[in-house]
Amino acid sequence: MILFKILFLLFVLIILIRLGKRLREKQIRITNFLIWFFFWLMAGTIVIYPESTNYLARLLGVGRGVDVIVYFSLAAIFYFIFYFTVRLHIMDNRIAKIVRNISLKEKENED
């Protein structure tokens, strides 16, 4: 169990360093940085103090602390799937617009 904790914390540390790097290089916005920063900080805290989730479980009326994590994780995964589907759809439309404009412009220049 201790080995798992060490490995997971290392993983979280790497992600936090990469997040910081992306913020420095202005690849992500500050709001996105903060959301992910606290998310991974929370994940790290839960791994170090797993019993802390029991308090949340009692507060929400869910059986065990680990169940709260599973429910929240599932909700988060579904949200991100939805979010990325919508983003992809928007990007698809933008690409189509660019390709169409090139096509119309090319013909205009030819004529």
Partner: protein, 233 residues
């Protein structure tokens, strides 16, 4: 009368020449939108007498039709006809198709392969599975947009200048056929259907939008895209 035929095409070098030559006889101008074909579709269509608009990458039927309609607007047409590039439609049907527009009885006309034909009385060449897919799609159009149609998936359509100005296609793929109905409804356009004969050859059945290849996953994807378009701009 200034009639423009718009043909979206992707890898149709085997048949596009004949399609364009037939369409030229029935119109003032034929526009072929080459959707990033990797064969000689564009070249052959141009030699046959069409104006070519080319997508640098393959976008899909919806995006190609949208480009075609935008291109057509440049020539101030009185009527625009869209037809498939795989030989499913006959250019000889164009005069019949545009008659309701000429008579000012409609703004948007669909060439229907199923108008007045039950499952048993359908054209011999229409595969049974295609009939069922189409019936389901028609039902969906009614549920989503409250429009009754007998052939919601037809690629043979005619638009007058008003419809051309109002209709704004957002779809990228196959769901474009359904989106036309959404636009008709939202823009209060008058819809008419005209009976046409669908031609199902070995070649047209091998194309991605044919009944042979149009499977359940295509249907689900189309439905999902349609759903997305309903809620996301």
């Amino acid at each position: 009368m200034n009639i423009i035929v718009v043909i979206p095409a992707y890898n149709e070098e085997k048949v596009i020449g004949d399609i364009v030559r037939d369409a030229v006889k029935e119109s003032s101008l034929v526009i072929v939108v080459d959707d990033g074909s990797t064969d000689k579709t564009g070249e052959i269509a141009q030699k046959a007498g069409a104006k070519i608009y080319r997508h640098t990458i393959n976008l899909g039927l919806g995006a190609t039709l949208a480009t075609g309609l935008m291109a057509a607007r440049r020539y101030n047409p009185e009527i625009v006809v869209t037809m498939d590039a795989d030989g499913q439609h006959r250019a000889q049907d164009i005069p019949l198709l545009i008659k309701p527009l000429r008579d000012l009885r409609a703004d948007f006309v669909v060439g229907s392969r199923f108008l007045g034909k039950s499952f048993k009385k359908r054209d011999e060449s229409v595969p049974a599975i295609r009939w069922f897919y189409n019936s389901f799609a028609n039902l969906l159009i009614y549920v989503l947009f409250r429009i009754k149609t007998t052939d919601s998936q037809s690629g043979l359509r005619a638009l007058n200048a008003k419809a051309l100005e109002k209709i704004n296609i957002q779809s990228r793929e196959m769901e474009v056929s359904s989106e036309f109905f959404k636009e008709v409804k939202n823009n209060h356009l008058r819809l008419k259907e005209v009976s046409i004969k669908g031609i199902y050859t070995k070649y047209s059945l091998s194309k991605p939008d044919s009944s042979k290849t149009q499977n359940l996953s295509t249907g689900i994807k189309t439905f999902f895209n349609l759903f997305l378009h309903k809620f996301i701009k």
